[in-house]
Symmetry: C4
Subunit: 252 residues, 4 copies
């Protein structure tokens, strides 16, 4: 096994595709969006990436079979759109792995002639979010202006100085190779998987891509999550003063 | 010293042997089974594996001499069975070491023409187990069906999404090389070395292999452990409210 | 991407320049001094250093664009002075990265014919500092004597046995290559960014370099910080007995 | 800089020398013995070892100059003895570094034709030691018998299953290369630097080597330490119920 193994399942011809990254992270916002898009668009899995920088474990699927931790790239083409969608089980657990895997992703992006990159994630604020907001960052000033038109907020003091992992490095290392790249971060508590924040991010992404995607499935998950949050609030009022956060945990 | 060193003590001719892995892990279930089999079958040690991914220490034996941390493979042949049994002192302590050592184990498996892999371990539930259960996972759907016939349970939500270490990676990386592989996990508290859980796993393994192994030694250890557990329960009732779990510790 | 990438933005001819290091660290003292000098002298950025030993993240600038974590070297020349000033966002987060990056910095120092190195930092004492003191260390006894003349203190028991990171390794690894090198550490609480300590360090450095630099900006930041400290003291007296230190945190 | 750098300061001809290792560890017992021997015998420093597996820091000496963390080998010859004594500031801070540095030490041992290795350390028992005991381990059964004659104890259950770091690996990796090696561990609390335990270890080592070394300096430090311990006991009785261990800390 090599440090990073790229298994190309199928070669697809694409014209200046747009790469969308949604790997696991805060509130799983990016991953929710990417998986929703893959599902709704019936995108096709074309690449699998394995690495010893992923956790040394397999995931057990519902049918009792297992699979290695991996990242995956899906392709979807319409007359007007050429999309590559990146998602996966995990990000690197080593420092250098983050850099090396993103570099390999950019190699793939170059092969496919990717014209722009969107990275998606959540921005945890440590409390329940009242009003959905999508914060942005980009690797070119023009992209900042462009994104402002879609309602993305760019706050001087936020997103808090740094964007960690693939969502950040695709912008930073991407710039060194000349890829225009934008990061969209949905405000989220950070305690819960957040399909509502994912909806907010997806809406802006769809506007930016001039793409229509049915949101019902995310809507349903958001409602379900809302019920969980309501119950948690009630529990809170019924006073469980200590350890509240611990008990919320990270409900998937 | 190389990153991973394989010392072949003896070359044995084998016909499509079955590889059984029982390295240290939750409740030491896998290791207990492997060591019991090696002992009862008088299996022969044929390979030692050293690596700088193991902890930087030596183990002191009862006679005052020491040995490096290592993994070991034992061979046992009868007319109907060809077994390679893998056990050891430790698993890798680095992330990449897990992957690299399992890859090396698979190299050895290929050399010996291994036809199937069983990995053994424990599945910790955080409380004493009332009824012994063996959970399973496999890297092919047919193996799932086969194992169900021996009473192995495949639960949609368990074994909790992931199997960490060699027991998992032998399935995942094994699949990439075409090895059929099955993981058997005995339910266990996770606090204690659990020979009772090991018995449950061994029973199913013996059925699957159509092999008879005397279980008295495991039975004895299980009874001894039961007495420890009884004492712990009494202590619990005699109220040592805090730090109970800490005091149980990980009794070997 | 290589392990360490040195991007030379501009080649400047220099005569036996002096290298001044001010990377992030305790009280951010070194970085404050380096950035103040770069700003006041209008020094020119000539080198950027990227590495997978830096944290895997990008920093978001005020205009919404991002940049990779990096170290930077600035050049400034006058008739009497040739300075290279090293600063950056981060130091290595891996053990070996510290050594490898400093070695690369020394390669650059050799290319430029650096004649002496000053490394700058803070020495945290865990309480507010009443009287500004600058502690020193050097990699040659003559330098110790020289620095004493500028009021640098060399205490037998301090700076506590060790100097961690680039400020220390530039002296230690520098010695192996024959670079005379001095470390100046401003006493600081360790809880707060400390421009007052930075002033003290800068004063001594200016004396040693026979250089004049306007200190108003540092003075202003120091006064601002003083007000923060006053408020903290009041809060302390108004009794918030527990968690005080946590709440001070590390105010930038 | 290479991963491990061996600087040979002087080449000394030796006849089947004995290598004695005393690096930092529990109670600093091994290091105390090695340094005492070097001092009393006026042994000569012949080798320095640098590595990026040591902590990334320099140590400040009393004269204000610094030096890199390193390991050192000293040589001492008399008519009847040829000794190489290994000590240093630190051991590796990475897992693989432990293995690689010990391998390099064994390379040096081979060059010098080392005939036997003694590794020295402390065995922490978590409470003050009433009666000095030296526990042993070896990599050959004959050595166990030999050491018993000098009063070294070999307990079935101790030293607790494992010996961590160079003191252990020199035995384990040494065995693979055919070096007879013995580990001597002085019982110690683990909280304090323990010159009394070092004395006990040194006495046995001197017997085994048939060597006489003045112990006054160690005796003096032991008495000084005793006074510290007495004071600690008084403080304990004067009731400082909590955080006692923290305050003891690790007094050097």
């Amino acid at each position: 096994m090599e440090e990073i193994e790229v298994h190309e399942l199928k070669r697809v011809e694409m014209k200046e595709p747009i790469l969308i990254e949604g790997l696991p992270g805060v509130g799983n916002v990016g991953k929710l969006v990417a998986e929703h898009m893959i599902h709704e668009l019936h995108a096709e899995r074309i690449i699998e990436i394995y690495s010893w920088h992923f956790p040394p474990q397999v995931l057990v699927k519902n049918d009792g079979t297992v699979r290695l931790c991996k990242n995956e790239i899906y392709a979807w083409k319409s007359e007007r759109h050429n999309l590559l969608i990146l998602t996966g089980d995990q990000q690197s657990v080593t420092n250098e792995g983050h850099y090396l895997i993103v570099e390999r992703l950019l190699d793939i992006a170059q092969q496919y002639g990717v014209s722009r990159i969107y990275t998606l994630g959540g921005y945890g604020i440590g409390q329940l979010v009242e009003h959905q907001v999508v914060l942005g960052a980009a690797n070119e000033p023009e992209l900042v202006e462009e994104m402002k038109r879609y309602g993305v907020e760019f706050r001087e003091e936020e997103p808090g100085g740094s964007i960690v992992g693939a969502s950040g490095l695709l912008l930073g290392l991407g710039k060194l190779r000349g890829f225009p790249a934008i990061c969209l971060l949905g405000l989220t508590s950070g305690y819960l998987v957040d399909p509502k924040s994912a909806q907010a991010v997806l809406k802006i992404l769809c506007q930016a891509l001039d793409l229509e995607i049915d949101m019902q499935a995310l809507e349903d998950r958001a409602e379900e999550m809302e019920r969980v949050v309501e119950r948690l609030k009630e529990m809170e009022q019924a006073q469980m003063p200590r350890r509240r956060e611990e008990e919320l945990g990270y409900i998937r």
